[in-house]
Subunit: 180 residues, 2 copies
């Protein structure tokens, strides 16, 4: 289970070793920088992003990112309770995935909108046909019973390979989502 203090679930730090250049723990907090293929993928991705969409559970599981927008970009949080948006403008609360993506698209200008997750928001965006590209990042580990990206997903998607990279810490598979 994920939650405040363990945003990626029990033992889930391993899933993001690639983000920080190696092992870290929730207790000590990550300090390192990504390296090699990890950095290459991340830098390419970040350079294209103009706005971000995330889910309320992810927001809460992260400890609300300590009240600071971690992206430094317009960041839209999908929630059933948009009236709970905190003051200060770090996060914009929006009541649905479609609306969040539309507002993020406006905010992103010429750049891309990044749907960071959680899984439920990603599934809704895919099912609504709002996704152009999908990257599956696989860490070399299985964690207990796990948590499924495609839980309850019943849409058949045709994908096309855009490329693959691998570091010791992760495999990145980039897909284009084909439209029917």
């Amino acid at each position: 289970m994920d939650g405040p203090g363990k945003g990626l679930g029990e033992g889930g730090e391993r899933l993001h070793y690639w983000v920080f250049g190696g092992p870290w723990t929730y207790e000590t907090e990550p300090r390192g920088e990504p390296i090699g293929e990890d950095a290459a993928w991340l830098n390419e991705a970040i350079a294209k992003i103009g706005a971000v969409v995330g889910g309320r559970k992810t927001y809460e599981a992260s400890g609300r990112w300590g009240g600071k927008n971690p992206w430094g970009l317009p960041f839209f949080i999908v929630t059933h309770r948009p009236e709970e948006e905190p003051e200060g403008g770090a996060f914009t609360f929006v009541s649905g995935v479609r609306e969040a993506i539309e507002r993020a698209r406006d905010a992103a200008g010429d750049k891309d909108v990044h749907v960071m997750g959680g899984a439920d928001v990603i599934r809704q965006a895919l099912e609504a046909g709002l996704v152009d590209e999908l990257t599956i990042i696989v860490a070399p580990v299985t964690l207990g019973v796990g948590k499924r990206l495609f839980e309850g997903f019943s849409t058949s998607l045709e994908l096309e390979h855009l490329g693959v990279r691998q570091s010791p810490l992760a495999t990145f598979i980039d897909y284009r989502v084909k439209r029917p």
Copy 2:
């Protein structure tokens, strides 16, 4: 659902386009040969294999491979009813995963044992600590509600990358399974 005449499930031909160099259907049967990175991965894998283990459901879903051993290698089928082994010696029926792997190891000599699946046999082999290497082959498609390799799997596995390949039809991620 899989079953005779649709061994990979509804629409599941796509999962094995890479095996036959492109599209095929259950109706017309596959005729092509693998090409490029698909052929490279398959040829390397096949060269190392000395015996094969498969599950009874996979055997039945394939239509019992028409009574002919498709591997041309000692082939052990895991089943609760080993007394149902057909005559002719094409397949050896064995009552458990561990026993099947032990017998396959003896038959393989210096070569590797390949656990082809189904998913249940792969999970049992992983949970029993009998697997040295694991390859995840991902076709660029999501198929309806899907069928999960790690359904009910609760073992945490530490893996190490051995390599990755990609063709237009599949991504191959080769892992070594680390022992505790």
